[in-house]
């Protein structure tokens, strides 16, 4: 990572780009409000903020690319030349020549119908009208080579779809740099990429920046990237610039409460695993008391003196006495986690996420479970009262007893067998809840061929355990989860759930899913039927459940209301359609739906990757709470090592359909045996929470 | 090929100077074999200019010479024809007795399935007398043979060996075809080496224009020079145009609604008479046919026929009488008469409208008539092949030779066309046809006409109107028998 660390430019130099009092409004709705910041030559400035905070709108407005729907006022000066209101011809002379842009999704941002080389050559000739075709082609190949494309001559003749994501992004950079501009505005250039690839692309961008003496405005929502690459950072919230300063200073201790909260809510390697993440509203409330979103967007708001340590304090201030008592290694941070604060926090809604601010309120579920049941090894909700004693899963490798949440049905404590990369099988006493052996899955491809997505995967999950699955995109994580859920039939291998083979490999016909396994989906927008009420969606799980099917309508409604309350939503939402719910609320509904049939295993396939950082923390907290309360076993899937580390006790790393490494969380994180795991770890740089 | 020719554009004035003419046809030319078609209005109008026959029917409906210069009846069933020695085909082959013999053989051979064959029922064979003399032998005396022979177009035997006469032509007539594609326009050019009298018009375009509106607007815009068979409802509009000469006459074709007397309700003569009383021929003729024709006096013939009787009178419009007759026959409000009226769609001038008007008037006396509009071929199939005519059927009939016997023969008991078995009528007609005395014959035909009127095998209507229009500068006499022949035309200033 050190190689990528930027060299700061001369701090006294004149600003190359000055944005002053910039306003951007779409159809009268402001997207950017009074933004003022600047970039000096050779400087990398990060523009951060949650989704919709106006980052892209700002970037586009600089070159007048905001589109016709937008009204732009204020001032943008490039070396003193005013760009707002400049005529097309003047802007055209600047676009691509002096200021270039790099967009997020290079597959779309590159013209899919034209050869990559032609596109770059065309860009060159746009500003070098005297250049011949041959010269432009040469230039294109040269740029491809400089951005790190192998065999650039050949690849110049290929089309964008023939490139991998990382390669495409390099092409995009080549396209932007071909006219040697002074400034590049890069709008989330690496967001869609895998962590490892992301690191490579960023590294190359920074190298080129240094070679060419470029100024770069890097739009991102990833603090890891900011810390790694940027000299200075501009934080936006609700269209306003709430904070700017050097990267180190802002990350270490932003003066604006929102910056603080944002930094605090991202899972960090410094965090104790499984600890409760402070959410943005919590942090803000901790710092300022109740504030609405609009107040929070005030750039002049400052963290009150003396409140420096509050983010950490916020973690401790919540919740009536729930502790992670089941954990083998208790830490102070574990004494966080709190239901029961829903009412208190409901007011902190503002622009963040209305009901998300309401923490889990499982204790209020009205089923008689004592509020303090978390103190001991929890016995689940009242329905489960009387189910067997709490059990502990013992991982064979770690040899350390991980007290997991309780499970129902008198499950026995189990020492879990893992068939890891070495194929070593450790001895086990009682059966694990789920055990997968030598799983092979393929998808139908063209012409009757099948593409194998998963080959020879084996692992097991003990009752009450959270098992993490990480790996790059396309490595087969979702495929495994779909097989476990019963949505897809494997080619071969065994999937034992409660000792029963539910995989159904080799049999014909559609598999009937097992209600004991439920799933939380990645995309909260796609996973709720817009035509059915929330109550109906959740209730269906009861209707078809062998034991709950006999429930009367009223009883079913009651249970749905209870579930909604448990995930921190207003029970009245049962009659609402998902249309008016925010992403975080939808994900809570998705979780409630998964809980309805009282599953023993919950699969969470990237449950937060579609959510904003500020909401992500809330959902992660909810999942962790439920897992603990209900003693659920969980298969937690993510491509983000930090998140997996935060949630899981054991972790498997997948690559190209195989498990390359499996083991105890700490062992994987601290002593990775596999090169790929190491690369992954290195790439997933996370912010150190220095403010604690 | 159809699209290449630009002849036919331009105005009547330019066409007058280059001696060309554009004729609008309502139906496409379907075949070029003159012996395998009976459509006078389209196929034969074109082909009669390309092929010659032994004799031809002149515009005044008399028979005149063509390839034969003279003829006489050497025996009651033997006619002798002397051929024009100059007569020759376009490729130089002389048109001699052998050619006639071959053509008659081709025609009479049933296996050839030629459509013209049925018009020559009495013709047995041709016998060569010498190179330019030929005898035609019939199976008995046939007064109508000459008329029929005006339809016998002569093909070259040699040429036919290696050409398909359905798609190519090589005749001995005044014109040759220069451009033709199935269904498309046809272009003719006068032959330089024609052995007869050279026609005035050098170039002819037949433009296929099925839409009545298009034909009329073509005339008005000067796009077309000649159109025959126009709708009477357009008369007024056409007459107001100074550049057009409109000719109006009765045709030799009588329009009526045939009644199926062999089965169904029309077996009852009271019903047949009732429907005759129920229809107001006068008002239909006035409104739908623009008053161009007068209702038929209850006859199957038009006045052009030899044998037309002056004494019959038509059924007056008398709906009460009709209802009375129907009631007698057992039909009334409780038991309405239901019949089907078949019309060949688009085949006859105003046919569909007339059928609708008739139906409406029938309904006023309580007859529920349903119109069944079918394509002509389907209509003919049911009528002649399947012998399954519906209760009523709109039809117009004519006999090319304009002999009463010819047309009446379609109504005798054993005719497949008749759907009527009436001994008295059949007897009168049969006797008349062999009767040589003119007065006696006319008397017999008058009996037949009276019998037909009384028995009403048809619902008598009116003659089919003949309306033709041509450019004012064009000298052309419209014919009552549908033919449109460019050889009979000339531009006024040009000779």
């Amino acid at each position: 990572m050190a190689s990528a660390t930027p060299t700061a430019p001369d701090p006294g130099g004149p600003p190359l780009l000055e944005v002053a009092g910039l306003h951007v409004a779409f159809d009268g709705t402001p997207a950017v409000r009074d933004a003022t910041w600047s970039v000096r030559a050779g400087e990398i400035v990060g523009l951060v903020g949650e989704s919709g905070s106006g980052k892209s709108a700002t970037g586009l407005a600089v070159l007048g690319l905001h589109g016709p729907a937008a009204e732009v006022t204020g001032s943008v000066r490039l070396s003193g030349q005013e760009l707002v209101g400049a005529d097309e011809a003047a802007l055209r002379a600047i676009r691509g020549r002096r200021v270039a842009m790099v967009f997020q999704d290079a597959l779309d941002a590159l013209n899919p119908y034209r050869r990559v080389g032609d596109q770059i050559a065309e860009a060159y000739r746009l500003h070098h009208p005297d250049a011949g075709r041959a010269e432009a082609r040469e230039r294109a190949v040269e740029m491809l080579a400089r951005t790190g494309i192998d065999r650039p001559e050949e690849r110049a003749r290929e089309y964008p779809h023939q490139f991998s994501g990382g390669m495409r992004q390099r092409v995009m950079i080549a396209l932007a740099l071909v006219n040697e501009p002074e400034l590049i505005i890069a709008d989330e250039p690496t967001t869609a990429l895998d962590a490892t690839v992301q690191a490579q692309v960023l590294e190359r961008l920074v190298e080129l920046q240094r070679e060419m003496g470029l100024a770069v405005v890097l739009i991102t929502h990833d603090f890891g990237v900011v810390e790694r690459v940027c000299h200075r950072v501009v934080v936006m919230y609700r269209g306003r610039v709430v904070e700017q300063g050097t990267a180190a200073a802002v990350l270490a201790g932003g003066r604006h409460p929102y910056t603080r909260a944002l930094v605090a809510s991202v899972p960090s390697t410094d965090d104790e695993p499984g600890s409760r993440l402070p959410t943005v509203p919590e942090v803000v409330r901790g710092l300022l008391g109740e504030v609405d979103g609009e107040t929070l967007a005030d750039p002049s708001l400052r963290v009150p003196d003396g409140a420096v340590g509050l983010p950490a304090a916020a973690r401790e201030t919540t919740g009536p006495g729930r502790t992670g008592a089941g954990r083998g290694t208790p830490t102070p941070a574990d004494e966080s986690a709190g239901p029961g604060d829903g009412a208190a926090t409901a007011a902190v809604t503002g622009g963040v996420d209305r009901a998300d601010a309401a923490g889990a309120t499982g204790a209020a579920a009205g089923d008689g479970a004592p509020a303090g049941d978390g103190v001991s090894a929890p016995g689940g909700s009242g329905d489960r009262a009387g189910d067997g004693p709490a059990t502990a899963a013992v991982t064979a490798e770690g040899g350390r007893a991980d007290a997991a949440g309780a499970t129902g049905a008198g499950a026995q404590g189990s020492a879990l067998a893992d068939a890891g990369d070495g194929g070593a099988v450790a001895a086990s006493t009682p059966a694990p809840l789920l055990s997968i052996t030598d799983l092979h899955v393929s998808y139908p491809g063209r012409f009757g061929r099948r593409t194998t997505a998963v080959r020879g995967v084996s692992f097991g999950i003990a009752p009450g355990e959270t098992f993490g699955l990480v790996g790059e995109s396309g490595s087969g994580k979702s495929t495994v989860s779909r097989v476990v859920a019963g949505l897809y039939r494997p080619d071969s291998g065994q999937v034992l759930f409660r000792g029963e083979d539910i995989g159904g490999a080799g049999r014909r016909g559609r598999r009937k899913p097992v209600t004991g396994i439920q799933m939380v989906f990645q995309d909260p927008y796609a996973s709720l039927n817009p035509d059915r009420t929330i109550g109906d969606t959740i209730g269906a799980g009861l209707r078809f459940h062998p034991t709950f099917a006999s429930l009367s309508r009223g009883k079913r409604r009651e249970r749905v209301a209870a579930l909604l309350t448990e995930v921190g939503l207003d029970p009245d939402l049962a009659d609402a359609y998902p249309g008016r719910l925010s992403g975080g609320m939808r994900q809570r509904v998705g979780i409630a739906r998964a809980l309805a049939p009282e599953p023993e295993l919950l699969i969470a396939d990237e449950p937060v990757s579609a959510l904003d950082v500020s909401v992500q923390a809330q959902v992660l907290n909810l999942l962790a709470d439920l897992q603990r309360d209900r003693g659920l076993a969980m298969l937690f899937i993510s491509h983000d090592l930090t998140v997996v580390r935060h949630m899981a006790t054991r972790v498997a790393v997948m690559r190209a359909g195989e498990i390359v490494e499996i083991g105890d969380r700490d062992q994987i994180m601290e002593r990775p045996a596999d090169d790929y795991t190491r690369a992954l770890l290195e790439a997933s740089h996370s912010v150190r929470r220095t403010a604690a | 090929a159809t699209l290449s020719g630009c002849v036919g554009t331009g105005t009547a004035a330019t066409r007058a100077t280059d001696s060309s003419v554009v004729i609008g046809l309502s139906a496409a030319v379907n075949t070029l074999d003159p012996m395998n078609t009976t459509s006078v209005g389209s196929d034969l109008s074109v082909l009669s200019s390309v092929y010659s026959s032994l004799v031809t029917r002149r515009p005044d409906l008399t028979i005149g010479p063509d390839a034969a210069t003279s003829w006489d009846r050497v025996e009651p069933d033997r006619w002798r024809f002397r051929l024009n020695e100059k007569a020759a085909f376009a490729d130089g082959t002389p048109l001699d007795a052998d050619v006639v013999v071959w053509n008659v053989e081709r025609l009479t051979d049933q296996d050839n399935g030629l459509r013209m064959t049925s018009n020559f029922a009495s013709l047995l064979r041709a016998e060569k007398v010498d190179d330019h003399t030929v005898d035609l032998v019939t199976d008995g005396p046939d007064a109508d043979l000459l008329g029929a022979l005006s339809f016998l177009y002569l093909l070259s035997p040699d040429w036919t060996e290696d050409h398909d006469p359905a798609t190519a032509t090589m005749g001995s007539g005044p014109y040759e075809i220069t451009d033709y594609a199935a269904g498309g326009n046809v272009e003719l050019r006068a032959r330089d080496d024609y052995w007869g009298t050279a026609p005035d018009i050098d170039r002819v375009t037949y433009r296929i224009t099925p839409s009545e509106a298009a034909r009329v607007s073509g005339l008005l815009s000067g796009e077309l020079d000649v159109v025959a068979g126009l709708d009477p409802q357009d008369l007024e509009r056409l007459r107001t145009d100074r550049a057009l000469e409109v000719q109006q006459s009765d045709t030799t074709r009588m329009a009526f609604i045939k009644l199926n007397t062999l089965k169904g309700p029309m077996k009852d003569v009271r019903v047949r008479r009732a429907v005759n009383y129920a229809v107001d021929k006068e008002s239909i003729a006035t409104s739908l046919l623009g008053g161009t024709v007068a209702p038929s006096p209850g006859q199957l013939l038009t006045s052009d026929y030899a044998g037309y009787s002056d004494d019959t009178s038509g059924y007056p419009y008398d709906p009460e009488k009709a209802e009375e007759l129907l009631a007698e026959a057992g039909y009334g409000s409780g038991n309405p008469l239901r019949v089907e009226l078949t019309v060949p769609s688009g085949q006859y001038v105003a046919g569909d409208l007339i059928a609708q008007a008739v139906t409406q008037q029938l309904s006023e006396v309580g007859v529920r008539a349903r119109i069944n509009s079918v394509p002509f071929t389907v209509y003919m199939q049911k009528y002649l092949v399947d012998q399954d005519m519906s209760d009523m059927q709109y039809i117009t009939q004519a006999w090319p030779t304009l002999a009463a016997g010819g047309l009446y023969n379609l109504f005798v008991s054993d005719s497949p066309y008749a759907y009527w078995k009436d001994a008295e009528f059949t007897d009168a007609v049969t006797r008349a046809r062999t009767e040589t005395d003119q007065d006696e014959r006319d008397a017999l035909y008058a009996d037949a006409a009276e019998r037909a009127r009384a028995q009403a095998p048809v619902l008598f209507l009116f003659p089919q109107p003949g309306i033709a229009a041509s450019s004012d500068g064009l000298d052309w006499q419209a014919r009552p028998d549908d033919w449109v022949r460019p050889a009979e035309m000339s531009w006024k200033g040009n000779d």
């Binding site: 159809d27 009268g28 779909r482 859920a485 019963g486 949505l487 009937k512 899913p513 209600t515 396994i517 439920q518 799933m519 989906f521 990645q522 995309d523 796609a526 996973s527 709720l528 039927n529 035509d531 059915r532 969606t537 269906a540 799980g541 209707r543 078809f544 459940h545 998705g590 739906r593 998964a594 309805a596 049939p597 | 839409s211 009545e212 509106a213 009329v216 607007s217 008005l220 709708d231 409802q233 357009d234 007024e236 509009r237 107001d280 008002s283 239909i284 006035t286 409104s287 739908l288 769609s345 569909d352 409208l353 609708q356 008007a357 139906t359 409406q360 119109i371 509009s373």
Partner: protein
């Protein structure tokens, strides 16, 4: 801000206008027996081809002296009846097959898809001509022919939407809840294609009306002396020169009917967020419009 609302209002008005005109046409057709000043079949041979206003005929008469106004009032009966029935048949059939085919996949799906392909390979008007000529003409056959040429539109749209939905997270969630296939089809998939079907049906109605008119024009639909707009255009075509109203007025009525159905359909397709799919599929799938408009 201003432009936004005004655009929205204009669209809204166009859609409403379509619905209103459609409603008026339906109403007038239903009330024809009350409203028509004359029997649509009654002839007045003394006053044929009367111009609008002449002899007390508000919109004139045709060649047989029939009152054009009365005929126009009655003239939408066949197109509407045939159109609605054909849309119902084609819609229900196509949707049901599309749902089953898309959800169950397998050989039946393959078979049906090929069948739809083949259906598309036969230009609709030709198929209709063929069946009507050789299979006899009747309203029932007419409805069936139009429905037959219309079902692939529904089938393809519904099927492709179902194919996308069946692997969607919410359908998978229902499966995980243990919901049986019929429940998923009725509760998850059908609502998902409802908007699509509504839009398709509206646009299909205009297709069906156009096809009925085209076939009547060719003499294969409604039969004389019935009052039917398409047939009336054909009947009056020969009289354009002297009595334009006989052909032009029914033609304009037809245009009004089709435009209103199209406006409504367009409006729905925008509102229901169907991404213009039905319009595309219909113009792709049902050749009728093209042919009859061609």
């Amino acid at each position: 801000m201003k432009t936004d609302t005004s655009t929205r209002r204009r669209r809204f008005n166009a859609g409403t206008a379509g619905a209103v005109v459609l409603g008026i046409i339906v109403l007038l057709t239903l009330l024809a027996p009350v409203l028509a000043p004359h029997d649509p079949l009654a002839q007045d041979l003394a006053h044929t081809n009367a111009a609008p206003g002449e002899h007390g005929y508000l919109l004139g008469t045709d060649q047989l002296g029939r009152d054009l106004l009365s005929r126009l009032l009655y003239g939408a009966q066949t197109p509407l009846l045939v159109g609605v029935l054909a849309v119902l048949c084609g819609g229900v059939f196509g949707t049901a097959l599309g749902l089953l085919s898309g959800y169950a996949r397998g050989w039946a799906d393959q078979l049906l898809s090929r069948l739809a392909d083949i259906q598309l390979a036969l230009p609709a008007i030709l198929l209709a001509l063929l069946i009507l000529t050789f299979g006899g003409q009747s309203t029932a056959v007419l409805v069936l022919v139009i429905a037959l040429t219309g079902w692939p539109a529904y089938f393809r749209l519904v099927r492709s939407r179902v194919l996308a939905l069946r692997t969607s997270a919410y359908v998978e969630a229902s499966r995980l809840q243990g919901a049986p296939a019929h429940w998923i089809i009725l509760r998850d998939l059908l609502p998902g294609v409802r908007g699509l079907i509504a839009v398709t049906a509206t646009l299909d109605l205009s297709r069906a009306v156009l096809m009925e008119a085209g076939l009547s024009y060719l003499g294969l639909g409604a039969q004389a002396p019935a009052a039917d707009w398409g047939l009336m255009v054909a009947e009056g075509q020969g009289r354009l020169l002297s009595s334009w109203w006989i052909a032009v007025l029914p033609g304009l009525c037809l245009v009004a009917l089709v435009i209103s159905a199209n406006l409504l359909g367009e409006h729905l397709s925008r509102r229901k967020d169907t991404g213009g799919e039905p319009r595309r599929a219909l113009s792709r799938i049902s050749r009728t419009r093209t042919r009859s408009a061609a």
